[in-house]
Symmetry: C2
């Protein structure tokens, strides 16, 4: 082992993932990140250049394996003929949930980070995410269109955006119960929180039904 411990750069990325995922971009200060990463403030600008560049690096690192897996599945599906809507939806959802949620606590942090940044209040930040996610977007849209020939391009794009949005919301855990929101009897907890596999199945089933029968024209 050459570098047995995490490098400062890695620690910064790890903590940035966690804190940005919890408080959003504007709500998280570089000082909070550097303190938690046991690094000096200046280290951020030394290794990345700015706060936004740190976020960009963190997004790129977090999205890389998801994009790779999505591309791989898409290649495989298209090599095997005409994929069904369900296969395409699985190829999109599962890399976003399983690949990232299956690896214990760390994966949940990455998922929350991705989901949060994807719909950050700031358009600037959202576009930063979109740029990382876009390369395969047109491939998915085209494949979905082929699998749903009766749906108009607008309808397919509408469904795709809904899929992307719902995935992000579940990734960010924003749809999980806000523990004691308003004294309601919401003690029952949707099964999904602890078992990402079940969440993926539920979400895929939900979306498949919506795509198959819920797209107009």
């Amino acid at each position: 082992m050459e570098t047995p411990v995490e490098t400062t750069r890695e620690r910064l990325l790890n903590v940035a993932e966690q804190r940005f995922g919890e408080g959003g971009y504007e709500g998280t200060s570089l000082r909070a990140i550097t303190v938690a990463a046991a690094a000096n403030i200046a280290a951020v600008n030394y290794h990345f250049g700015s706060k936004e560049a740190l976020l960009r690096a963190a997004v790129a690192r977090a999205m890389a394996p998801v994009n790779t897996e999505r591309r791989r599945r898409l290649d495989q599906l298209e090599a095997g003929g005409a994929p069904t809507p369900e296969e395409l939806i699985r190829a999109f959802i599962e890399p976003g949930l399983e690949l990232v949620l299956r690896r214990g606590e760390r994966g949940a942090v990455v998922a929350r980070f991705i989901g949060r940044i994807a719909f950050d209040p700031s358009r600037r930040i959202r576009e930063l995410y979109a740029a990382e996610s876009d390369p395969i977007e047109s491939r998915y849209l085209a494949a979905l269109q082929r699998a749903l020939p009766q749906a108009s391009p607008d309808a397919v794009a509408f469904g795709y955006m809904n899929m992307l949005g719902l995935l992000a919301l579940h990734q960010s855990q924003a749809l999980s119960p806000t523990p004691g929101a308003a004294g309601a009897a919401n003690t029952a907890n949707p099964v999904n929180t602890e078992d990402p596999g079940k969440l993926a199945e539920n979400l895929v089933a939900f979306l498949v039904a919506a795509f198959d029968r819920g797209l107009r024209a």
Copy 2:
């Protein structure tokens, strides 16, 4: 007309709606709000007490007509017997989109504000919204459960959260095309942006299909 012009308090609420909806809570400063409202900084703390109290007041004011309309529709539906899933979904979606989007530019501002705050990065802010929305949540859940007896309570809650999330994303316009994200050929614009009625129809159809056939067990 007793007060022909807007009061300082109203101007603050109007501008807060717009700015918070654009930049989120953390990303919007009181100074930016007060300048745009032609008010003094201290006016915020005089009329509301704090930045968060201003947000709370704005959320309450924006949600009030939506909640009223939802309650009215729910009352009407339950008085007429056993409502269908589609009727319940319409009773939830349409007040959130039409009632707020139909009134020109101003309505779009309110919708974006509501949608943005509902999934703000900060849990504190999200709960502030949830508290304003919760009172009717349990009624909707119960009615949906009755309309979908074959679905488990967890499945119904899962569908409800998806509906709530998708509505918020469309309200906040976060699912609209980020104009020139990454040089893709996404010139075609989903029909939904200019016609809120069509968006409501598309979203209802999408959700009805998902509820009717996409909920497990």
